[in-house]
Subunit: 415 residues, 2 copies
Amino acid sequence: MDLNTTFAQVQKASRQLQAAGDERINALLKGMADAAIEQQESILEANREDLARMSPDNPKYDRLKLTPERLHDIARDMRKVASLPSPVGRVLKESTLPNRLKIRRESVPFGVIGVIYEARPNVSFDVTALCLKSQNACILKGGSDAASTNRAIAATIHDVLQRHGMDPHVAELLPPTHEATAQLLHADRYVDLIIPRGSGNLIRFVRENATIPVIETGAGICHTYFDRYGDTAKGARIIHNAKTRRVSVCNAMDCLIIHAARLADLPDLCRMLQDSHVTLYADPPAYSALQGRYPDTLLQEATPEDYGTEFLDYKMAIKTVEHMDGALEHIRHYGSRHSESIVTEDQERARRFCRETDAACVYVNAPTSFTDGAQFGLGAEIGISTQKLHARGPMGLEEITTYKWLIEGDGQTRP
Amino acid sequence: MDLNTTFAQVQKASRQLQAAGDERINALLKGMADAAIEQQESILEANREDLARMSPDNPKYDRLKLTPERLHDIARDMRKVASLPSPVGRVLKESTLPNRLKIRRESVPFGVIGVIYEARPNVSFDVTALCLKSQNACILKGGSDAASTNRAIAATIHDVLQRHGMDPHVAELLPPTHEATAQLLHADRYVDLIIPRGSGNLIRFVRENATIPVIETGAGICHTYFDRYGDTAKGARIIHNAKTRRVSVCNAMDCLIIHAARLADLPDLCRMLQDSHVTLYADPPAYSALQGRYPDTLLQEATPEDYGTEFLDYKMAIKTVEHMDGALEHIRHYGSRHSESIVTEDQERARRFCRETDAACVYVNAPTSFTDGAQFGLGAEIGISTQKLHARGPMGLEEITTYKWLIEGDGQTRP
């Protein structure tokens, strides 16, 4: 199937969206929120079909599952997006040249954004709301596990778009096939940006195949370095929060790096993790320090594979270093440039850690669990970028706009 | 040859650069400017070797050629870059959460930037200066035509780096081979950004092969739309300046789109082009309007290939449209999203053109020849982006930085 006709229709529809005002778009988003509640029976029915094809033991099962409560939260989030200021039309720079030429740099939508994601069907609503709010048309490519649910959600959205006199192609759902993904990744004539949301494998595939600019999101291999001059009580709280607040998210901590001079404090630093049954994969010095002071059943010797692993589970690696340089080097080698933290009372070492750690978010005496668009005051979040081009860390509405230079003259020429 | 060892050395050196202060870097840039003058004999000698391998009739010959005057200009530009404020360490956002967590978004270097370019050896100096000023290490991949000159320039730069106690790997020149380009495009572990500068073919090759984020630059297919309500005197000046100021640069105009109701004014609009011997490729209505009123030898009937062509020469296509919609559609189809202009006295139509034209720079009553970093007040320019991710239009020092979120706490945890 040649999807270029579809892509061209989306591009055409994006122009209608760009001409629409923010008020009209907000009404549309509120209409979508209402429809998510009013038409929940058809969405939940489709969701039951998808769930019937998956074993409840599959870790994806819970992410796939929609409930009236979850639809309620989705609707609330869409109303929230409608209440935010428009990210379009912000004047980013402005000047008048000596020749009276007026130059202005103004935020504008990208045009068409393609989003590729996996099992979570709520993404279909979330992404559509954020794209429409920023006046970007969107092409959604969801996973096959959620195919029925996504079709029902797309039908709901199209119904609202039609009732509001908006071309339904502003939010298009592709078939859940690899062929569709491949065509999307090469649609440079029609699509301005691709955002893959999901596993490292998906992101790697997109990076290697896309001829369209990509913002990589998601994979978070996050470290906390407990420095020679760290405070034990703060460290224990930070490690516990970073590891256990939500283990399935990308900002969860994967590895504790401990300064060798502080191994005696390791049992205290890990004590709170016992209650959450966190398994520790410790290198020999850390293992010795913990032995007999952490439950045997939850303590293992680390293998090389335990470092650089995003656990997404109640598991954590521990690495001992002789110097701060070792910690910086370990993070450089194994980190995914997402979120990294240092616990120290030494300001100079904190500054050095901030400068030399190449990551979207660098923390001093705070847990990586804070990496989140809402926490950072962005109002909403379409993903967490782990690349450096365009947007880094949590991305809100402003991050899915680009800009245009507008130059107004009166017949001036350049000498 | 495996270049990964080299790439790793550059990455390591980039950290020394990030730890250096702006003053030290400015001293380095001034040292490079001095060396470009003092060591000009070895650079010019190498340049003569390159020139000897090329026919003086080759259009690249002039771009390849260095002279004492050109080296003087290069040195002046490097001193200018040294005088600019550092683009690193700017606080882009700052807030304190109710829990007293301090969050700051601060500009930082990308790390390592790869620049791929063709015949112009001055790019080796320009790019190195801009990258070092923004505390980015750079990997230069110049064209084989300029191989000797680039080697001499790299030797000069390395000499200065060494004298200033800076790891010479902060500016690395690759061999001028396709193999080197291929390895660079896949060095995602070591290189943070690729900027191709040159022909459309080079840019397409990079887009299709890079697994590293790319900023596309350069190709400019630029239109000027003379609207139904355009002022003829302004239009004639704007068209002449956009087409003839410098025909070899990307902001030069390639196609005039004229509203059919104003065909009678076409001879006046084109009159100034005669003096520069601009050949016009006109569609039938424009051809008829010009026949007998523009030199026969410079007037031809347009073929389909004349539209969407970047002439880089004293040539210009003319397209007639019945409505403004036709102009917008023509630009959408043939433009390269670089610079587009409308000549009109109708404010409403000007606004619509600005909104609906998808280009980095959109002009009203001014020529596209103004698209330039210095003109736009950026102080210096590393290229003109024709993509929408990260930077659009002229890119200065700020555009070759990214940012980091820095979060400072005192043991706070997220509920």
